[in-house]
Amino acid sequence: MPAIELVDVSRVYQKYSAKHRFQTFKSAMVRGDLFRSLRPEELVTAVDGVSLTVEKGETFGVIGENGSGKSTLLKLVAGITKPTSGRLKVTGKISALIELGAGFHPEITGRENVFINGIMLGLTKKEITRKFDEIIAFAELEDFIDAPVKTYSSGMYMRLGFSIAINVNPEILLVDEVLAVGDAAFVPRCLDRIDDFRRRKKTILFVSHDLTTVSKICDRVAWMKTGKIQMLGEPKRVVDAYLQDVGAKQEEEFQERRKASAPALEAAPGPAQETIPASEEETRAKRWGKREIEIRKVTLRNVRGEEKHVFHPEEGMVVEMDVAAREATKDFVFGIGIFNSLGVHCYGTNTNLEEFEPVAISGEGKVSFRIERLNLVNGTYYLDVAAHKRDGYPYDYHRNLYTFYVSSLLRDEGIARLTHRWEFSPTIRFKTPET
């Protein structure tokens, strides 16, 4: 039997303007039609015809951008809001980790709040007394439990809230992005607890932006977009599709931003003219050189040749330069440099350093720099491209004029990802990650 079953569930929110609110008040007073005048003029559909079945014992993830309806979906399942239309059936006791410590009263002590909050979440006094020590121990608040909650730090507050909610011992656990606020020590313990739930075959509905965790702990994942389920299925596949989509969107944004700063690049044929792209880029991005050899256009592609600005490491990157030499010359070098958002020079090379002997260039041509695997950590990067003489005299130097973004599921740190492998002797054992 499914634990959670949604059939064509929609939730429509009303959007009242201040003016509209006044009108409803007035008309309600004058005509006395309170209920009719509450009819909204503007509607926002937060959840739009969602059908979904979560089996008992399943860990089900929901991902999606902000405002895609994830939290509303969770609130519907929790019963906090009612569906506007559709059918919703939940079998089993629910505990919702939506907002931790939502019912805490700041003036009374942690101890008293544990009892009240526990009762609110459906525990009896006896059960709370029995579990009290465990709750406090898990939250690590033994020393502060008799202090008013208003003196707690937000971390303590959250820990106590989590600890109570998880001890309600529900059959269905709803988790909404609550782990985002925990510190480095607490989050793994929360995840442990959630794992524990999984092992005991309880149903979990898990909403998160933490895609790594989602793909690690969930059996199935739904990706929500503008209130609808865009895709549902095996975690890895859904997360990938979602990342693709987010990438495409970032791509668009880059495109737009580039359009705004591009004119400087294209409308500058004159020699010896230093062009400065617009706005914030001013200090960082520059172009100089007399353009005896001009880099007319730079295109970023993946190795398959698709034009992109957001890259997954495995799809590689090709920097393609359209160059044109005004006169034939025998002294030329092409180079590139990659900087991260902190201005750290991550990598740089040129044809001269790699001992390419220039022979001849004339007219128009193409230069491609192929990176088969883009081994950079997540983040925004800036690109330098240049054509210059061997002694450094610049023909055309583009400093940080191009931007790209690296996005991957891995969360390693530093500047570049070194090609590596872990090896362990047989006495050291790990469960291999499912990648």
Binding site: F25, T81, I98, E99, G103, H105, I116
Partner: protein, 269 residues
Amino acid sequence: MFKNLKELFKYRVLIQNLVSRELKARYRGTVLGFLWSFFNPLLLMIVYTIVFGFILKPRDPSIGDSPWSYALFLFCGILPWVWFSSSSIESANVLMIHGNLIKKILFPAEILPVVTVTSNFIHFSFGLPILLLFLVIFGKGLTVYALLLPVVVLVQFVFSLGFSFLLAALTVHFRDIKDILGNLLTFWFFSTPIVYSFQSDPIQKAPAIKTLLSLNPMTHVIEAYHYCLFYGRLFHWKRLGLTLLVSLALFVIGYAIFDRLRDSFPEEV
């Protein structure tokens, strides 16, 4: 709706805990603590006694000539009135104050007005022994009719509850009610025989005013308190019975409206 009402009973443990939390939180940090429940009505009574007993000096044979007996008369009315008016004012805000509960966890919103009325009732009952003590020491003492007090309290409880449900639900949509309510309660206070007696000549001789006052349910409730405690006689049980019916009707209407608007609370508070 009646199914929901039954649920209300199911939540009694939660209500009980929330009320005690409310009481604990209210005086936490004050020096006098729970004594404020006694001092507040006492101070209010002193102010009214000075103004009406010594400065304005009403001559009302039904109350008695001495300023002290007037003070007792006032106390009998003010104590329950404070219960009613604070319940109403707090109820108008209660859903917004606890918006977090309604929005973020599965929480039965209807217990919030109940908690408000109940915790104010507890305050009322703290003041009651003082009132009784004063009646014994400074007044004519108590009669057997004081035992009927719970009946009057019950009527007021039902009435307050109904009014609170109505206020709580409507204020979510029309915030203006909060401001209207303050003024309404001042008007209501003076339309209820608290600082004056319903039995006084000017009222009894003006049928229009008498009828108008009779339409106010609180008139009969406060009157009943006066009869039980101050006069030591049986109250007009017909009038009080009718008031109970009106109160029940208000309760049903108030709860029905609350129930009807319930689904809109999470997004409106």
